[in-house]
């Protein structure tokens, strides 16, 4: 993946975050045990993790990353971190900790979580960085006094554009400047998604122009969803497929349509198609049950079946590059709605004239009208 390949290896390769980088460097140079932790906040793909990673790499430190949502209890935090923050690194000069999505912590059952993290910060022999989507979450109030907040801004379009341009030149991608500009613009300051977009467009095609851009339904930003589709269709592990949906900011109902649209772009054998649609059918059924009964516990089956079920419908992973598409259904919904409304109007008019329901008009009259008048509006 290009994102991995072009991950910053040095702190000065981090783009568009001069202020945050300066705060970070000043903090870490002065850091001693007992000092405050840093709390990074800002949009995804703006370089929060990359900064810490690059620094660790440059300074030969052990980079230890974990996600706060993995800790269900304060005991687990103690188990995972308690020793590590005091032990020496075996091979490297030191350690640096990154605990992601700290606001994923807490909730009722792990009420002790925040307290435990504070304890870790106080006792650690090594610097700790936390990240949060919303640092102002009330449950983080006590934690905030032990942290210095660092804001990561959206990366500006120009910086993203330059980066994409650099990558595309190094990778020898034949890509229009317009397209790069468009990707940069739609990324909304998220460099990671921009690079992913570039990769999706570049793969398979040698020459990329703005037409390709349209063919993947770029107008709306769908980076994550394309990434997700790639994972679902290219894995045969149920867990990986199910996890892929985590980072997609669309509701399952819409994701289901994305998967529906692209089964035929990936699978070729009839038995695979049958199996995949059967899985989708079951997923859809659970979705219906969820909605009908307003009971969200059924939703997990929808998600498992539409990702894992579809993933495991293939006999073998296709090594081909598949171009994934925006769902026809969503694309056509607005358009067909207008057509349907017009038809409905005309049907109602006929219904009045012929004294029967629109259903009967469709069934009993229209087929004959079509024979009589080919220019008739009802002739699709």
């Amino acid at each position: 993946m290009l994102v991995e390949k072009y991950k910053p290896k040095k702190v000065n390769e981090i783009i568009g975050q001069k202020k945050a980088v300066d705060i970070f460097l000043k903090w870490i140079r002065n850091w001693k045990p007992g000092k405050k932790a840093l709390l990074f906040h800002g949009k995804t793909g703006t370089g929060k993790t990359s900064l810490v990673q690059a620094y660790a790499l440059e300074n030969n430190l052990d980079f230890i990353e974990m996600n706060a949502s993995d800790f269900r209890t304060s005991e687990q935090i103690q188990q995972n971190l308690g020793h590590s923050i005091k032990q020496q690194s075996l091979f490297k000069k030191g350690k640096i900790f990154l605990i992601d999505e700290i606001d994923g912590l807490a909730g009722r059952e792990d009420i002790g979580g925040v307290k435990e993290i504070i304890k870790i910060i106080k006792e650690s022999y090594y610097p700790i960085i936390l990240t949060a989507n919303d640092p102002w979450d009330p449950k983080l109030r006590s934690l905030r006094t032990y942290c210095q907040l660092v804001q990561f801004d959206k990366i500006n379009v120009w910086a993203i554009y330059k980066k994409l341009d650099e990558i595309s030149r190094k990778e020898n991608l034949q890509i229009d400047q317009d397209v790069i500009r468009q990707i940069a613009k739609t990324s909304e300051g998220d460099l990671r998604s921009a690079i992913n977009d570039l990769e999706i467009l570049a793969a398979g095609k040698t020459k990329i122009n703005s037409e390709n851009l349209e063919s993947v339904g770029f107008r709306e930003k769908e980076t994550n969803i394309f990434e997700m589709l790639k994972i679902v269709f290219k894995t045969n592990k149920i867990e990986i497929a199910v996890d892929a949906i985590q980072n997609v900011s669309k509701d399952p109902e819409e994701i289901l349509l994305w998967i529906e649209q692209n089964i035929l772009n990936e699978y070729e054998k009839p038995e695979e198609i049958i199996k995949a649609f059967e899985a989708l059918s079951r997923a859809d059924l659970f979705l219906g049950r969820t909605k009908k009964r307003q009971n969200w516990k059924y939703m997990k089956y929808t998600i498992d079946l539409m990702t894992g079920g579809v993933a495991l419908s293939k006999k073998q992973i296709y090594s081909k590059f598949s171009r994934y598409q925006y769902p026809d259904i969503i694309k056509n919904l607005g358009k067909s709605k207008a057509i349907r409304n017009k038809q409905k109007e005309e049907l109602l008019e006929l219904s009045k004239r012929l004294h029967c329901s629109t259903k009967k008009i469709k069934e009993f009259y229209l087929p004959y009208f079509k024979l009589q008048d080919n220019s008739n509006n009802f002739h699709k």
């Binding site: 289901l256 529906e260 035929l264 009839p270 038995e271 198609i273 049958i274 995949a276 649609f277 059967e278 989708l280 059918s281 997923a283 859809d284 059924l285 979705l287 219906g288 049950r289 909605k291 009908k292 026809d328 259904i329 056509n332 919904l333 067909s336 057509i339 349907r340 038809q343 409905k344 109602l348 219904s351 009045k352 004239r353 012929l354 004294h355 029967c356 329901s357 629109t358 259903k359 009967k360 009993f364 009259y365 087929p367 004959y368 079509k370 024979l371 009589q372 008048d373 699709k380």
Partner: protein, 315 residues
């Protein structure tokens, strides 16, 4: 737009209703008394239920009959509340030239039981100013409390002779040349539905001076919906992409309901050119996905899954 014969040859007065003597006599008596009870008309499609209701209104109210009736279609009105409001608006004012107005509710059997309960109350509330004529195919689908408040009229199916009479009436009115085997063919295809008769006749008359059996069968086969069988054949021949596109068109552009499509698929399976054993399997599958739609699945996904099953047909 052209004139629709079904409308042109619709009976204007009760005297013109074909067959249904037992019904017509009583309705005429109502017209003479200038009073009617709530009515329930039941019978097959195209035998004259709506026509009788309109003719009754005509005979009751004379030239101003249109102002004194409200036509509603249970299958087009979204919900009983909308029906209730329309009835309320219409029945609030009293007719100038009559004691009451008439509300014709077609396809009343499309209403759920709950909706029918609500309807019953509405009927009671407006008895002072309005009479209801409910029309349905099966009176058994109308709840008993409503049936007991109505005079029930059962419309008979039409015999071949009645259909023939109707054909001849149109033929005369339109100056059509129609052969004897042409008439027989129409009788056979129309299955006693006069609406079908006039539509077949009208479509046949467009390109043909003389209407014979060949013309009639040709028209009837062309008028049959082909989309569904096309869609199934795409799938059977392994072109799932086109089958899927067709389905989207039926659902999204033509606005058919999933229920209608699956009903048609079930019908079409019998005439597919595939081994009998496969038909049994596909019918079983059709039932399964039909059930899933009822259970809350979306028509689109479920029908696609069903179509996928056709990919597997052994030839």
């Amino acid at each position: 737009m052209f004139e629709v014969w079904a409308e042109k040859y619709r009976p204007k007065t009760l005297n013109e209703i074909i067959n249904q003597k037992h019904v017509v006599e009583r309705l005429k008596a109502f017209a003479k008394d200038k009073n009617i009870p709530h009515c329930l008309f039941s019978g097959r499609a195209g035998v004259g239920k709506t026509a009788s209701a309109l003719a009754l209104a005509h005979d009751l109210f004379g030239d101003k009959w249109k102002q004194n009736i409200l036509e509603l279609n249970a299958s087009d009105e979204r919900g009983i509340d909308i029906i209730r409001n329309k009835v309320k608006d219409f029945a609030r004012t009293k007719s100038i030239d009559s004691e009451f107005k008439i509300i014709i509710l077609d396809e009343a059997d499309a209403l759920t039981r709950d909706a029918q309960q609500a309807l019953r109350r509405t009927m009671e509330n407006f008895t002072q100013t309005a009479r209801f004529i409910l029309i349905c195919n099966y009176s058994s689908k109308i709840i008993e409390p409503i049936q007991s408040r109505c005079s029930v009229f059962r419309f008979k199916s039409l015999s071949d002779d009645h259909v023939k009479k109707y054909i001849e009436r149109i033929a005369k009115g339109e100056n059509l040349a129609i052969t004897k085997d042409g008439i027989d063919a129409i009788i056979e295809i129309s299955e006693g539905d006069l609406r079908k008769v006039s539509n077949i006749l009208q479509a046949s008359s467009i390109a043909n001076k003389k209407i014979n059996a060949d013309v009639v069968y040709e028209v009837a086969s062309q008028a049959k919906p082909k989309d569904v069988s096309e869609m199934l054949n795409f799938a059977i021949n392994g072109n799932f992409n086109n089958a899927r596109k067709k389905l989207h068109e039926l659902l999204l552009i033509q606005g058919l309901s999933g229920e209608d499509i699956i009903k048609e698929i079930h019908k079409q399976i019998f005439s597919l050119n595939i081994p009998e054993q496969e038909k049994v399997r596909l019918i079983d599958k059709t039932g399964e996905y039909d059930f899933r739609i009822t259970e809350g699945g979306s028509a689109l996904i479920q029908l696609e899954a069903l179509l996928a099953q056709f990919l597997d047909v052994k030839k």
